[in-house]
């Protein structure tokens, strides 16, 4: 059984598949590092709510991606050496890594649904923690200030969020400022263009769009990197493992 034309063909396919798998695994590792670094600095929004498994999935994917790379290199060796023991080791270890990577994909996409399925969680968190004391309060405040300034937005669905609901911000600062001054347009020297007009809600002097769309797009981007790309890698590895099992049986 071992030395036929079909057998050699299978071995070549397996080696090539493992080379491609090694590259894919390394790319997964790199992409997961990008997510974990969080260039948009939105982690506190997910961290304070406890739904931060997009980032936990990223950390798992860093290790599983690199492990896929190592195991695929090992698989090339095992296939070339035509060794049963090595192929069995390869199969068992790959299955374990496969299961961990599945966990990463599923948990990342599930927590994305919790966070940005609708604007309620983000809005509630903003109203409770913006300007609040404590560690969570300061992290959320800094995050929102950054988002409102860079994305030029105010509130979750709009500035009316600050008026419709009671908030820690209002309890602390009263009703003189209906919304934080970060909602106001600023000049290049960071001075507010017109504080009184912003307080009155004149839409030429403040940001009127909500920040939720930006938050959704960022978390979706992270999740698609971990979940969908991880899913694609796993689908490729699935067929590679099936082929490896057939090869093992032929040895």
């Amino acid at each position: 059984m071992a030395d036929g034309k079909g057998f050699t063909c299978l071995m070549v396919i397996l080696i090539l598949g493992n080379i491609f798998g090694a590259a894919a695994g390394l790319a997964l590792c790199a992409l997961a590092i990008w997510v974990a670094v969080d260039q948009f600095k939105l982690y506190p929004i997910s961290g304070v709510s406890g739904k931060d498994d997009i980032f936990a999935g990223a950390w798992i994917a860093i290790f599983t991606g690199f492990a896929f790379f190592c195991m695929c290199v090992f698989g090339i060796l095992a296939a070339a050496k035509k060794s049963r023991a090595l192929m069995l080791t390869y199969l068992i270890l790959m299955l374990i890594i496969y299961i961990f990577e599945c966990a990463s994909c599923i948990t990342a996409v599930t927590h994305r649904d919790y966070l940005v399925g609708n604007s309620n969680l983000v809005k509630k968190q903003m109203l409770k923690y913006y300007a609040a004391d404590g560690d969570s309060g300061s992290r959320i405040t800094l995050t929102w200030n950054k988002v409102m300034k860079e994305v030029e937005c105010c509130g979750t669905d709009g500035p009316v969020d600050w008026i419709e609901y009671n908030s820690t911000f209002r309890e602390k600062f009263g009703t003189d400022y209906p919304w934080p001054t970060h909602c106001c347009k600023r000049k290049n020297n960071y001075e507010v263009v017109n504080v009184e007009a912003c307080k009155n809600g004149q839409n030429t002097t403040m940001f009127t769009k909500g920040c939720f769309n930006h938050i959704v797009s960022v978390f979706s981007r992270y999740t698609w990197a971990i979940s969908w790309y991880g899913f694609a890698v796993l689908m490729f590895m699935f067929w590679l493992l099936i082929l490896a099992m057939v090869y093992y049986l032929m040895l």
């Binding site: 709510s49 049963r84 069995l88 199969l91 068992i92 299955l95 496969y98 299961i99 599945c102 994909c105 599923i106 996409v109 599930t110 994305r112 649904d113 919790y114 399925g117 609708n118 309620n120 969680l121 809005k123 509630k124 968190q125 109203l127 409770k128 709009g158 500035p159 009316v160 008026i163 419709e164 609901y165 009671n166 908030s167 209002r170 309890e171 009703t175 209906p178 007009a197 009155n200 809600g201 004149q202 839409n203 030429t204 403040m206 009127t208 979940s227 969908w228 899913f231 796993l234 689908m235 699935f238 493992l241 099936i242 099992m245 093992y248 049986l249």
Partner: protein, 209 residues
């Protein structure tokens, strides 16, 4: 002189109002609803006092304890404006007498105006008047008799957006997305298949040996 009266009954909405607290920061459950009723008598010149809207250039005309009202038209020039308002819950009335003169829309401290500058010339536009020190969750009725025309009265009833408690926002899982279902189902099935296939492979090779 034609007269017409349009009345929208406010009574059912008073029954619906569950919270009578006037304390601004109470954490009790509050209901939120908006109601407009217009009661006006028409005379030679007419104007309607109303809340400023987004089309007027503001984000909202309704704040937690103040409102932005529209200005009388410039046809009533040089006349003083008096505003009476009445809290229909506590029956307190307040009158702001001669708060400003209508047109030529001279800039006044309390009038909200925008200044637009397009580089060549500057125009200023008066948007409205801000009534402050109001109580959240109360109903107010506004009347604006203009001093020289005794018959000219416009009023309307409105309710505040009473502030909602953010703890009442339901922040649970809204729905599972299609992506989540697809990924979970397909990966679970593939994990199962691989596990079974590995067991069969090992058993077969051991059996063969």
């Amino acid at each position: 002189m034609s007269r017409s009266i349009l009345v929208i009954p406010a009574l059912p909405f008073h029954i619906m109002l569950r919270s009578h607290e006037s304390h601004l920061f109470s954490t009790a459950m509050r209901t939120m609803f908006i109601f407009f009723g217009m009661l006006f008598t028409l005379s030679n010149a007419e104007f309607q006092v109303s809340l400023l809207k987004e089309s007027d250039g503001v984000v909202t005309g309704r704040f937690a304890d103040s409102l932005l009202l529209s200005l009388p038209p410039c046809a009533l020039a040089t006349q003083s404006v008096t505003l009476e308002y009445n809290n229909t819950d506590t029956n307190e009335s307040k009158t702001l007498v001669n708060i400003f003169k209508v047109l030529p829309c001279r800039f006044r401290r309390d009038i909200i105006s925008t200044i637009e500058n397009n580089g060549q010339f500057t125009t200023s536009r008066n948007l409205g008047y801000q009534v402050t020190n109001l109580t959240t969750g109360s109903t107010y009725r506004f009347l604006t008799p203009v001093a020289s025309k005794q018959n000219l009265k416009h009023s309307f009833c409105m309710l505040f957006i009473s502030v909602k408690d953010p703890n009442q926002i339901d922040s649970g899982l809204p729905a599972r997305s299609g992506a989540m279902v697809v990924i979970t189902v397909i990966l679970s099935v593939s994990m199962f298949i691989l596990l079974v296939a590995l067991i069969v492979t090992v058993a077969h090779s051991l059996g063969g040996d």
